[in-house]
Amino acid sequence: MYSFQAFDIPVLASNIPLTVSLIRGHVQAGFPSPAEDLGAQRIDLAQLLIKHSQATYFLRASGHSMTEVGIFDGDILVVDRAIKPRNTHIVVAIVDGDFTVKVLSQRVGRIKLKSANPTYPDITPKDGQTIEIWGVVTSTIKQFNV
């Protein structure tokens, strides 16, 4: 129930366990492996994809309006809420109470949500309508049937 930590360093609530392994080396009779002291951690995908673990959520894309930036129906979106959304970021926005993934366009104070597929319309807020950006998409995960 208690945790102790230094100031300002939030503990990572990592949801995906880090896989740790030493470089493999056969232990010869009596001699320690020469690689033992050089122990390295196996590459961890979560470390690559997740910068702010407390702020990162996974969503699934549904639809075809973002194919030109490589987001296809069924892809998993890695969404980081700690990142401040800026022009050209791919964002998850709240439109009519639903999550929508679009490209954020901010020009001279005008905000637009652009589709990345010419056959789909962009979303331009009407006067007085606000668009809430829920988070910034930092990567997508695509899995194939094998």
Binding site: S3, F4, N15, V95, G97
Partner: protein, 436 residues
Amino acid sequence: MYALIDGNNFYVSCERIFRPSLQGIPAVVLSNNDGCAIARSNEAKALGIKMGAPWFQIKHLTDSHGLVALSANFALYGDISDRMMSLAAGLGPTQEIYSIDESFIRLDGVRGDLVERSHKIRSRILQWTGIPCGIGIGRTKTLAKLANHIAKTAERKPGTYPGHLAQVCNLEVLSFDERQRVFAATEVGEVWGIGRRIGKQLTDGGIKTVQDLVRMDVATIRKGWSVVLERTVRELQGTPCIGLDDAPVPKKEIACTRSFGHAVTELSDLTQAVTEFASRAAEKARKQHSLASEVMVFIRTSPFRKDPQYSRSIVVPLRRPTADTGAIVQATVLSLRAIYCQGFKYAKAGVMLLDLQPDSVIQGELDLGDDDSLGDIADKARLMSALDAINKRYGRGTMKMASAGLDGDRRVWFMRQERRTPAYTTNWADIPIARA
């Protein structure tokens, strides 16, 4: 110095992260079995919905006022709590997680403006996780808790307290006068550790506000009330009496009670239910290293229905103080048979373990040759730790007493959670959808 951070309307706020359409509308989260409201949005509070209001009493508000009710989704709340707690920990050097949505942070040695720092942490938690928080700061835990109440009330009901205390309230930087005014505006029942009964006694005795209580002489309090209340008053006066690392006192009694998903009439179904409750209670007892001397079992019909009413309980002593699931379940099932009466629609049952004592004290007794020798007791203890280890590793209910039944979720008395949202953050199959 302590800070208390807690999430506003926590369960509802968790639901709103993934259901933005719930923003700004009255929403409640219902307890196990959708029995009553255990969390309310501000809009729901404004409709007059009280904490613990039974669902059937507020159901009509769904049509008339657009109330949305959700079943508790603890997988989601647990994950969001984790995220919130680890960000809250950035406020100071040590943290005590007090409940799913509250943690105390010790602020000793933290330099700079605490209010500014708290606002930063608060907005980070809001931005990163989506949970709005209130932060209270005070010289003692009781003061921090009080400050937190002020911070949240000032935000929710403008006008009750000065506006600058909304969201973050540091009692230590208030002027003497302002502090007095704030204390005078707070009812004594809001103080941490003052329950409804003591609160009423104090109010009846003319001690209505926190200011009245702080002015009391501690010796009078000790004489007229209790040492516990004296400690509370000292804490309010600024003398720390409750440390951060005070381990929770082992509970004097352990209860496991539940409303059923559907009315239960058969003894066999009730037996399954109480077996499960007794097993859970025994597990809780072992976890806090306690042994129970007596078991209380109760069953009752729903007081909210017009059916014939029946309510009975029974307390049975155990052969010797124990935390053995087998012994406690056996006593529970026998007790149930003694109080069960056919022909009623049962709505709730419960098992309580009473007269708990530490498991380090074992009273020796003559070997009467009938059942357990001391060696058997040691074997049983090992059996129980194996049981707990298996259930911890493979999930609750992996290994259980046969009388709990094998039908899993199909058991008639099992939790009814018709309105539960998906496990958005803990199950790949349940992650939210974004339209592309």
